[in-house]
Assembly symmetry: C2
Homo-oligomer: 426 residues x 2
């Protein structure tokens, strides 16, 4: 299975620091592959009629016990109604359930939209027998139309009766223009117990580093101290979802949540625990895996583009440079055309806002170095272009300015992107 292999490869590098062995259990019996991979989490996905008849459009995620929780939210000044409602719910650091609909973002819907989000939250709390403040809500889809909230309420009731350990229907119900569900998980030994971190995400268009239209729901059966969970999660989000760009548009509806229910019974993890780095690595690994899946499934994309910047003065600079290259329309179109037009990559580095010495920089497309020391490195164009022929393209930049590095993910710009977004509502 391709994903399992990809997982294994990433693990090897990510474990360097922690000295811990992370194992992956994507297909483990009785557990889901994503948000229900961890013990004690249950999910369901149903069709409630927001989207076309028969299309799954309502997902419900539930923990058998109370959870500590953390969230990251869109930085768009214009935010969908559910974002505020969920931010409020998670403010005390606890959650127990998440209700999500696709097909309608409940954004730009005024005071009525906030009311609809609260009704959605209340419906889930009642159906699951938990407090209203323990329920997060999320909506994704068209902006500017009121949510058909009665349908959503009925869907929540329906989903609550179907909760199970398998979460494929949940993963599907939260998709919009995505072509594939996105699930990932990792297991890690902490404090003598095996704990699992799982996650399910969606995201395809309106994706940009500052939390594009993406939703991600991570769960873990680890017992984790609240403040440490928050810090660990935000750091992982920064290195994963915030480094994905599909089209430069940041959505009003983005959110990423993590729920930790402690079902594995480990001694609680905090920042000082010796196994804290291993747990953090597992969280980051699941986030990165989901982030890559989002980039790969970018609207109209045929290729996943990974941009690695090394030798930067600091990680923030490296990230800004990597995102600038991954986000360049010209680089993206060149990748689509399998044209190793490295001048466009150099150009995108140049306008990133990060100062660097072009004379010390080197650029590599796959295996072929194309630029070094301010000048082109002689190479066969055909050989360089061949580096772009696969489904995954890697562009590496070495700055020679310092020791920091960062990776960003994007995709190619294709006729398909124009087609999808030139006719989304029709």
């Amino acid at each position: 299975m391709t994903r399992a292999r990809a997982n294994a490869r990433i693990t090897a590098t990510m474990n360097k620091d922690s000295g811990q062995r992370i194992k992956f259990a994507p297909g483990e019996a009785l557990r889901g592959k994503g948000a229900t991979a961890a013990e004690g989490f249950f999910a369901a996905g149903v069709s409630c009629g927001v989207r076309r008849a028969g299309e799954l459009d309502l997902g419900l995620l539930f923990s058998g016990g109370p959870c500590v929780a953390a969230g990251a939210f869109t930085r768009n000044a214009f935010r969908g109604a559910p974002v505020g409602v969920t931010e409020e719910a998670v403010a005390d650091g606890t959650l127990r359930a998440v209700a999500v609909n696709s097909g309608n973002a409940n954004a730009a819907t005024g005071a009525g939209g906030v009311e609809d989000a609260r009704r959605m939250q209340t419906a889930a709390a009642e159906a699951l027998g938990v407090e209203v403040g323990e329920v997060a809500v999320a909506s994704t889809g068209v902006i500017g139309e009121r949510l058909p909230v009665e349908k959503v309420e009925a869907g929540i009731l329906d989903a609550a009766g179907r909760l199970g350990a398998g979460d494929d229907a949940f993963a599907e119900a939260i998709l919009t223009t995505d072509t594939r569900p996105k699930q990932a998980s990792a297991t890690v030994r902490v404090a003598g117990k095996t704990v699992t971190v799982g996650g399910t995400a969606k995201g395809s268009g309106m994706i940009h580093p500052n939390m594009g239209t993406m939703l991600a729901f991570l769960t873990t059966d680890a017992s984790v101290e609240r403040e440490y969970l928050n810090r660990t999660f935000l750091a992982a989000v920064e290195r994963s979802f915030n480094r994905v760009t599909v089209d430069g548009d940041t959505s009003p509806s983005d959110l990423a949540l993590v729920l930790a229910n402690g079902a594995s019974g480990n001694e609680p993890l905090d920042a000082d625990h010796p196994d804290a780095p291993a747990f953090a690595a597992a969280v980051e690994k699941v986030c990165v895996e989901l982030a890559r899946a989002i980039a790969r499934d970018g609207e109209g994309a045929t290729k996943l583009v990974t941009v690695v910047v090394r030798g930067a003065a600091d990680e923030k600079s490296a990230a800004a440079l990597a995102k600038s290259v991954a986000g360049s329309s010209l680089v993206k179109a060149a990748v689509f055309g399998e044209d190793a037009n490295w001048g466009r990559a150099l150009n995108a580095l140049g306008y990133s806002g990060v100062a660097f010495d072009v004379g010390k920089a080197a650029i590599r497309f796959g295996e072929v170095e194309v630029f070094r020391g301010g000048e082109p490195v002689p190479h066969e164009t055909a050989e360089a272009n061949a580096q772009l022929s696969g489904e995954e393209v890697v562009i590496e930049v070495e700055l020679g300015e310092g020791e920091s590095e960062a990776t960003a993910w994007g995709c190619d710009l294709t006729y398909g992107y124009v087609e999808i977004n030139g006719s989304y509502r029709t």
Copy 2:
């Protein structure tokens, strides 16, 4: 003639402040339509073999007398060799000639590239009998290949023998993926004399507010004090070229220059002259006209998109908001699809980085108001979509925050853009 009519419309609004009458003379006998519209400027365009045989690729612009001059240069950290050479030449506030080639940007070419740019400058100085420091040079085209400088030198010699008042060949020689030459001019009475401001530009891809791959050469026969010319020109550039976005990519080769030779014999203009506002309006008018032409000719574009933001707290905020909407891939694709998907415009306002109250904002597509006070304004979708059916689309935003406004220009995102940039080098 369409352009003349467009000119006239803009003039009416631009003259409000100055109280002066600006007249346009795009087709006036014995004068060019762009960079040679002003008295005493001569231009030529020839084919020297940088591009395919027979394609014009070398332009030369010359003033019969010495000029005061000013320039604006790309903010990309990675800059083409000619940019530095030209910045040096104009540093003393004087210029007399400009040599430009298309087909090769002479960028990412190391120390050899700087040498080539200097040879180009020297060749023009010798051919025209002026000082080396009086010659500006510019190159546009493919990045990362050495300039065939002998061909360029021969072309400069050829062009110097063909200098004339007509500048159509010059306008054509500086184009790359542009489909149309871009020329504009305005005449204005200052200090009892009629002076002309003209300009020729190129730009189609790699266009973004901070001076995309665009070149603009303005000339005027007005007599203008150096510091005032510089300030007036930079302000005009800010309100025109820096508000155009085609694809978010800022090129390493951009530059805009203005040369004033004083041939009209007016009493020199400075900031305190009563006719200074009229002159500034004429310069801005020509810059805006050329900027609009660049946006309209964006790679693959079928529509010019004008975004006007009013009621902002300050002009800088208004400009950032307008540019964010004009630059959104999702807005651009929706315009191509003639889908009045105003949620995407609202979304782009939201991630612009400018704080504003969504509850006070209103959005209009053409004649149809679609959003106000935090909620959609009920309207017929078909009627809103019809506002996008022409070759020019206007999106207006009213913020209700203050008195400032700004306009940005862009174009739609089409299959053509992907096609052009997926196969530019092949």
